[in-house]
Amino acid sequence: MAVMSYRDAVRQSIVDEMERDGDVFMMGEDIGRYKGTFRVSEGLLEKFGEKRIVDTPITECGFTGIAIGAAMAGLRPIVEMMTMSFSILALDQIINHAAKVHYMTGGQITVPMVVRGPSGAANQLSAQHSHSMEGWYAHVPGLKVIAPTTADCARGLLKTAIRDNNPVIFVENPGLYATKTEVSEDPNYTIPFGKARVAKEGKDVSLIAYSRMVHVCMKAAEGLEKRGIDAEVIDVRSLLPLDTETIFGSVRKTHRAVVVYEDWRSGAFGAEIHSRINENCFDDLDAPVGRVGGLNVPMPYSRVLELECIPNDGDVLAAVDKIV
């Protein structure tokens, strides 16, 4: 184990897998010479050369399609989206092509590809650069969608993603890159998909989140502790496949839950988690399941307004207050 930032953990996993398998390569905008806008790919060009660290023109739809085609031929591309917001331009390639070809070919062709990058708001990037994309992807059969919170999870789950034979959407968050945790150094350290993580055990209420919002929930849990409320925090980690067993188990124990996400409140994947709890734990619930999501507005530039939009621990406390 070593203390490592989320950024370094992501990079280390890419390095491991590229050293392990010559078919793995990386493609994206400004990832080589410019080292990546979030510096995730720093040093990779020097290490692996232009053949395997491919700087692309600003054509998300085209280079994602090229990566998919390469994957159909057996290569294992890692596509970096400078921000996941830009993956909207590549949605047709990801959803209509990568996600469907295995099915349309009756299993003949696989697409071992990872599309990764930061999702969600950073700091005043305004309306067009602050999307939370994971919910849309998690709605699409044929894709797997991962959204780790800690550096250690990022490391283990990314390695699993790169080794997976299906297209995997790997969602990071601008606010997480600098965060550090103990991280396994084992070059074969992988974390299986479809397993949620209990970030904190508790007995009074379940806070269910993924990515950066898990930290927000942890902070809220501290606040609740002061009020004598013992919250359990579930880090979903894997949206598709979704570990409902762990989620339901927690709810059946605490009988109360709040689902927390940064995405626009209405119509987000958090609503799906919320629905599943209601469908399956109805008789275990002592109160309606709460939800905390981002405000239903395009992300404003003004920091004052931006902070209004993004859920914080205070919003989680307010939601818990309503149900305990």
Binding site: P57, T59, I66, G69, A73, L75, H97, H102, Y103, G106
Partner: protein, 336 residues
Amino acid sequence: MAKQAVHTETPAELEQYFREMLFIRHFEEKCNFSYRQGKSGGYLHVYIGMEALAIGWLHAIRKGHDYVITAYRDHAHALLLGTDPVAVMAEICGRVAGPSRGKGGSMHLYDKKNEFYGGWGIVGGHVPLGGGLAFAAKYRGEDRVCINFMGDGASNQGVVFETLNMAGLWDLPCIFIVENNEIAMGTRLEYHAADTQLWKRGLPFDIKSERIDGMDAIQMKRDAQRIVDWVRENQKPYFVEVMSYRFAGHGAADNDRSLYRSKDEEDENWKRDPIARLETELEKRNIMNREKMEAIEQEIIGEVDAIYEKAMASPHPSPEEVYDNVYSDMEPEKGH
């Protein structure tokens, strides 16, 4: 260029082209028949009139070695690359004997073992995938080329230009072929392209580009061979506009061609019929007389009938199969 000069077709070759073109035509007629019979459904697009184009290109490549990808008008490509015609017909009719066990249908034919990558329904959407196949060949230092077919309408899609730029930038061994049949569904070339000389679209990307005729199987094969050899040798992309014509409607459901062209125009173009043209050539070269041709056609009609019967004998998939192949290693959340 040396390679090209030595190409003089043997009688056997020309007979093969003739048989294959007839086979495609009658196979396609049978597909339309199956649609009218309600044995196939959805969108079904035949290649009638365009046979020489696929013949030329797919005889110029190394089958099973070079990559091939196209859109939804894909029956001929699958057949010529060696997919069992019974399987092709079965897929078109949604039977388990199809390469995709009925999950793909007419628009989504694939045959990995022959390096045929489909069979796609989003106009223009498969073009970058073809660029990716070429990318893989180059990455691995193989000498494969990718044959990337698209329609004239598809050649307007932005992702095509994005792919051309990267193909030119990275020297991808990819041949972009515009099957210009002068129409996109119901929209004529002059209504969808600012400049109807589509071959020019490779120029801004420093890609060798040209327009050639696709109605003469023999010349088509020669041009295709010249270009395929050049790309394999030079490991650079190529952009080719191939002039062709579809005699049928856009798809089996398009039954009012008068919305976009006159009977006269069609009659004019029937004079370009690639099969009639090859027949004349076969006669001129004393390779075959009309009787022999007639006999071969009857033989092929019989073959196609038999293929259809066999395909029909294949069962529909069983409901449980619906969850297979969503993922290579897991099942989706089940149920309604």
